[in-house]
């Protein structure tokens, strides 16, 4: 894992070219019972060659964030941002047409469900070559050759034969490889991978992760990896963004986050996974009791307070801003990070009783 330098300023990556800048991203969805504020002021950057992981529970807004970047939000959703730029180009002002020119070309996405992501009625070859025909001036034969090459590159044997097959004739792991290949067809600068391994067997998960890592290095692209699985984050991330209830609650270099989590939520998440060398053998894994609050309407104070073992009265009405810890690591909590407290150890007993 590559260390983020301690001397970097704010959430800026150290490494060369920033490919994606997100600042103050908001997503609102109208629902029957009111406006659902799915993403609230999210900011982070991704550089070429870098892997940024966004972690959080279901419904924390991480998928909405990725869809907002791609411009694929559902009908009626409203996206606003202080800055949303790809390779320095502002995305907020682009028309749908201009946006679609970018998608599948320089900016591509890998989705969660390999079983449903591919259109069941067209062949693999047909679906793989579509981005090429859309974004490149290319002949049919050449396109199929390239598709075959990329299929081989993502580790599919007998690629030529696969091109003529339909999705249902492929296993889940193979399909996900096809989906990855599809995202790479036009050699993108940034790939957004939304839980690409969640639906797969554990062994295949590892292969796919390995493949992604390898490909990223090879293509030198940036990767935004969305997941709820901290185990994956540990193996993949250069930097980590932890989201809760639509907000970034903590972000920083992966090493920092894993070694010195500050926000009680991050701490709680880490308690839920076994980490070699840190989790006691035979010890109990933790859980975060309680439920995510409704994001409909306004939220006052800290959104985590109802589940937080260290909640204080002031958490209920103060607006809590992100605090910078050391220039690259920031968090959203009233606790003093320097104290190095583990909110869960101290209060675990009382919380578990109420759970």
């Amino acid at each position: 894992m590559i260390d983020a330098s301690a001397t970097a300023v704010a959430v800026k990556p150290l490494r060369a070219q920033t490919v994606l800048e997100v600042k103050g991203l908001d997503v609102r969805l109208p629902t029957q019972s009111g406006i659902l504020h799915a993403v609230r002021g999210v900011s982070f950057d991704v550089a070429l060659g870098e892997t940024v992981c966004v972690v959080g529970e279901s419904g924390c807004g991480k998928s909405m964030t990725s869809l907002a970047i791609m411009g694929l939000l559902p009908n009626g959703a409203v996206r606003t941002a202080d800055r949303l730029a790809f390779s320095g180009k502002d995305l907020t002002g682009l028309t749908e047409r201009q946006m679609s020119d970018l998608r599948g070309d320089k900016l591509s996405m890998i989705f969660q469900e390999p079983m449903t992501t591919l259109n069941p009625v067209y062949t693999i070859g047909d679906q793989l070559t579509e981005p090429l025909f859309r974004h490149r001036r290319i002949g049919r034969q050449e396109a199929y050759e390239k598709a075959e090459a990329i299929l081989e590159r993502v580790g599919i044997s007998g690629a030529k034969r696969r091109l003529g097959q339909y999705p249902h004739q492929l296993s889940g792991g193979l399909r996900q490889r096809v989906v990855i290949a599809m995202a790479l067809m036009c050699e993108p600068q940034l790939v957004i991978a939304d839980e690409p391994t969640t639906a797969l067997d554990v062994t295949i998960q590892a292969q796919i992760l390995h493949l992604l890592k390898q490909l990223q290095r090879e293509f030198g692209m940036g990767m935004l990896f969305i997941t709820h699985d901290l185990g994956l984050v540990a193996r993949l991330a250069d930097r980590v963004v932890v989201m809760y209830a639509g907000q970034v609650v903590e972000s920083g270099p992966a090493k920092d986050i894993f070694e010195r989590p500050v926000h009680p939520y991050t701490q709680g998440l880490l308690r839920c996974i076994p980490i070699p060398g840190r989790t006691e053998r035979g010890g109990r894994l933790g859980a975060i009791p309680g439920m995510v609050p409704s994001l409909i309407g306004g939220i006052e104070g800290c959104s985590f307070r109802s589940r937080c073992p260290a909640a204080l009265p002031r958490c209920a009405n103060e607006t809590i801003e992100l605090q910078d810890l050391n220039g690259s690591h920031s968090y959203r909590c009233v606790l003093d990070a320097a104290a190095g407290n583990d909110a869960w150890k101290r209060n675990a007993g009382s919380m578990e009783k109420t759970a």
């Binding site: 694929l72 591509s108 989705f111 992501t117 259109n119 679906q127 579509e130 339909y166």
Partner: protein, 305 residues
Amino acid sequence: MLVFALKRFVVGILVMLAVSTITFTLTNVAADPARTIAGEGASAADVEAIREAYGFDRPIIVRYGEWLGGALRADLGDSYRQRRPVVDVVMERLPVTMSLGGLAFAIAILAAIPLGIIAGLRPNSWIDRASLTFALIGQAMPTFWFALLGIVVFSVTLKWLPVSGSSSLSHFVLPAVVLAYYATPTLMRLTRAGMIEVMQSDYIRTAKAKGLRTGKIVLKHALRNAILPLVSVAAVQFGFMLGGSVVVETIFAMRGVGYLAWESITYSDLPVVQAIVLTIAAIYVVLTLAADIMNAWLDPRLRSN
């Protein structure tokens, strides 16, 4: 694929057999065919003579066996009323009904699919609401009322179309539209629902993520999936339309099977009624088979197993 088609074929044969048993039982138990043949003013002795001459005094099983044997050789007996082979009587009427049904079906499809697509792409828009209203009116309007209204407006008042008959294409326009309006709502709503569902599916999002243009997404990726359920329903609807042609053909005096059916029922010409029910059942069986094949062609998942 071949095994699949063969299986369906066998099921189709069995269905025909079941339908024939039901209709034969119905028409031979509930009515006295001898009395029907004897006609107005016949004496009891006449009726008895006919009963014996035609063999109606034998048990129904025997008669059914005989009739079935004939049916296998495309001989469905003679019409009581017309005194000539039922097969001829029905076959000479079939072209009109098939043309009417085909035209109505084409109109229904051409109205339902584009409307369904547009409505499905923009749920709750004005055009969606307008098409849903159009569908609701179609579902709530009795066919014959609409038909009579059409005659008053287009034939009597405006004189654009002929009132009745089946001798030219212009005779088919009004009845076909009336019949089509009967089937359009179902097909339109199904297309719309399919479109809404498919447009929310992951592979459409994938297509969007590839940067594909809306037209291509809708016509290539969405439509084919959205109309998959439509195919088999459309086959059923075509069958319904053949049934619905009874009312339409009677009003527009079209020389089709529906009008023949109504007439044969009112004159108790039961062999003809039997034959028509059987014919429509056969068309239904063929259509569903065709729908299955078309579905297999549209959806590779069905091809492999």
